[in-house]
Each structure stands twice: as structure tokens, then as C-alpha cells.
Symmetry: C2
Subunit: 192 residues, 2 copies
């Protein structure tokens, strides 16, 4: 049984030890090297992955061929293209590892099996989708209504432990600014 | 009992007539005039609303004070700021009626009561959140990776029956272009 996964699940929905043992059997633990692609544009997403260790980025490629980061995810987060996974249609996004990572993988068949056996898990998955929705909403709001400085503040608030782990050019890509401009914002902030 | 609501629910999850009667009792039917605000930035969202009749826009205000439309919603869609509703924290968005509308309103207390009585409804709400997530994902992808023409095509595909009902300047706001540019795109398209 996996302690982190069980902790995550039981904060969303109370389960018996028997149920936890049952569902743990449906997750496959896998280890990946950094820079591995879990998903590329045009592929159908075949996993929802719970991150035990590591760091992941999801991104689109813009019309100039540059990557635009949507979200970062690390320990105790889920990563997937939920829409592609559920509709089993080609994804528009890339999911790539920033660090060597250890993931618990849930396939569509495994998910159907555990939901069939433990319907109350619907709640956990609803909360997971909601968390993704909140991320996208923040992202859109940042793009539309906030200055680069404000977006950086929101990033620090949302990912308090990550700025040390993420290369500067990736943070800049997430904020939609150049690495030079990010460096100026950080300097101004450190002088305050 | 409301036929449209029951139809929507039973395509997501099978329920007995008794359960449908029970949950219909928790929705309040309300009629609103167009231009009514259901939600304004800074308010806590106190509803998830199923649209029986009418048309709604959700939007942010950008740093120049202009409205940027996130989504449109009409008959048989849900409208809410799901994140504000669930976390009971102030919303960043506006929800305003484009047409006179008839809505079935679910409050947080009512939702908790029906989920407590009929836990299998979690599935329906998970699917509802997923549909919102798909909308936001398309919106972000359009902003980042598509040309204005491609965004317009995606809009027509997503809302096939709406272009006749939505004023041009609102479609332009949704696409992130001027009304004049939208007019040029439509002319080019009609010549093809």
C-alpha cells in the first residue's frame, strides 16, 4: 500500500483498509527519467498519475513554435490531460518531466474498475477535476487581468516550494514573459 | 418535476422516480431579465444554475477595464463559478444574462443535502466540472496556439446554434479581436 496515496484519498473520502488495499492494487508504480514525455500533442492520454516524487510540466505549443507552460505539478498532485483521458480523443498538450519522477499510474480500465467497486471515489475524482479547473481559471485570469508582477506573485503563492526547483526560463514561460524580464521583476522584489 | 433537468441527470446517472422527485424539490426555479448580474467580481458564488431557457456570459475584466468573455452558456448547460461556489471565496468573474432567462438554482446547502441523500449524483457533478474544464482548456489553447480564424471555427463548432443569438461585439470579445476584424473574417468565410 502507498502511504501518500492513501493519505490523499482519505482526506477526500473515508475508506476502509480493505477498500484501500483493493484500490492500491490498481495503481502501477513507475519510475521515469527527467525529460521523458508522458504525453505529446495528438496522442490519446491513457493515464491519470499521482506524483510520489518529481516534477512535471504541462504545455501547449504556440503559433510561433514556442512552448507555453500551463501548469507545474509535483508531489501529491495528479497529472493528466483529463479531457483526453475521459473522452479518449487526441490531446492538444504535452506532459514532460522536469525531474526524475516516481508516479502511480491509473489507466482508464483500472479507473473504471475501482469506481465500479467503490462508487464513493467519485467524490475524490470530482475534487481532483475541480483542482485542475481552479488552476486553469487562475491561469486565464492571470493572462487576462494581471500584470507580469501580479502573475509572479500569484505563482509564488500557488507554488510556494517550487521556485527553487524550476529553471528560470520555465517560470518565465509560465508567466508569458522573457527570462530577462523575470530577472528584473525578481531584482525589484528583492529590493523591497 | 422538471423534464429537461431529469433528462440531463439521467444521462449521467440512473435514478429512480422517487430520487428524481426528491432532488427536484431542492432546485428553485427563477426568472431573470436580461442584463441581470448573477455574480460580480468580489462576491461569493452561491449557486450552480441549470439553464432552462436563456443565454448567459461569464467574463473577466482585463487590465484596461474591458470585458473578456470566457464562456457562453444556454439551455441544458450549467452556469456557476464552481471554484468560488465550492471554496466559498470571492469570485474573480462576472456572470451576466444576455437574454431573459429561466434558471433552476441549486444553493450550497441544497447541493450538500441531495449529495448526502443520493451519493451517486457525485458522478453527474464530476461530469459537469469536467465540461467546464474542457471549456477552459479550449479557451486557453485557442488563446495560445490558434489564429483568430481558427478560434472562430472552434467557436462555431462548440456553439453551433448560438451565433444567431449572440451580438457580434460579444463574439469578438470572446475571440479576443475587434468587431471589425470579426466582420472581415466572416466575409472571407462566406466567400469560400
Amino acid at each position: 500500500m502507498n502511504k501518500e496515496l492513501n493519505q490523499y484519498i482519505t482526506t477526500c473520502v473515508p475508506l476502509t483498509d480493505e477498500q484501500l488495499i483493493f484500490l492500491n492494487g490498481y495503481f502501477q508504480k513507475k519510475i521515469f527519467k527527467k525529460k521523458t514525455f508522458l504525453l505529446q500533442q495528438g496522442e490519446v492520454c491513457k493515464f491519470e498519475a499521482f506524483i510520489l516524487k518529481g516534477l512535471v510540466k504541462t504545455y501547449f505549443i504556440d503559433h510561433n513554435g514556442f512552448e507555453v507552460i500551463l501548469t507545474f505539478a509535483c508531489e501529491n498532485w495528479w497529472v493528466s490531460d483529463i479531457i483526453s483521458f475521459h473522452e479518449q480523443k487526441p490531446s492538444k498538450m504535452y506532459i514532460e518531466l522536469i525531474e526524475d519522477s516516481e508516479l502511480l499510474i491509473l489507466t482508464p480500465i483500472a479507473k473504471a474498475a475501482i469506481l465500479n467497486e467503490i462508487p464513493s471515489l467519485e467524490r475524490m475524482f470530482r475534487l481532483m477535476v475541480q483542482r485542475h479547473l481552479a488552476s486553469y481559471q487562475d491561469r486565464l485570469f492571470g493572462n487576462i487581468a494581471l500584470s507580469a508582477e501580479e502573475r509572479y506573485e500569484l505563482f509564488l503563492h500557488k507554488y510556494p516550494n517550487l521556485p527553487q526547483r524550476i529553471p528560470q526560463h520555465l517560470i518565465a514561460s509560465y508567466l508569458g514573459i522573457s527570462a530577462e524580464f523575470l530577472s528584473r521583476i525578481r531584482k525589484r522584489k528583492s529590493k523591497k
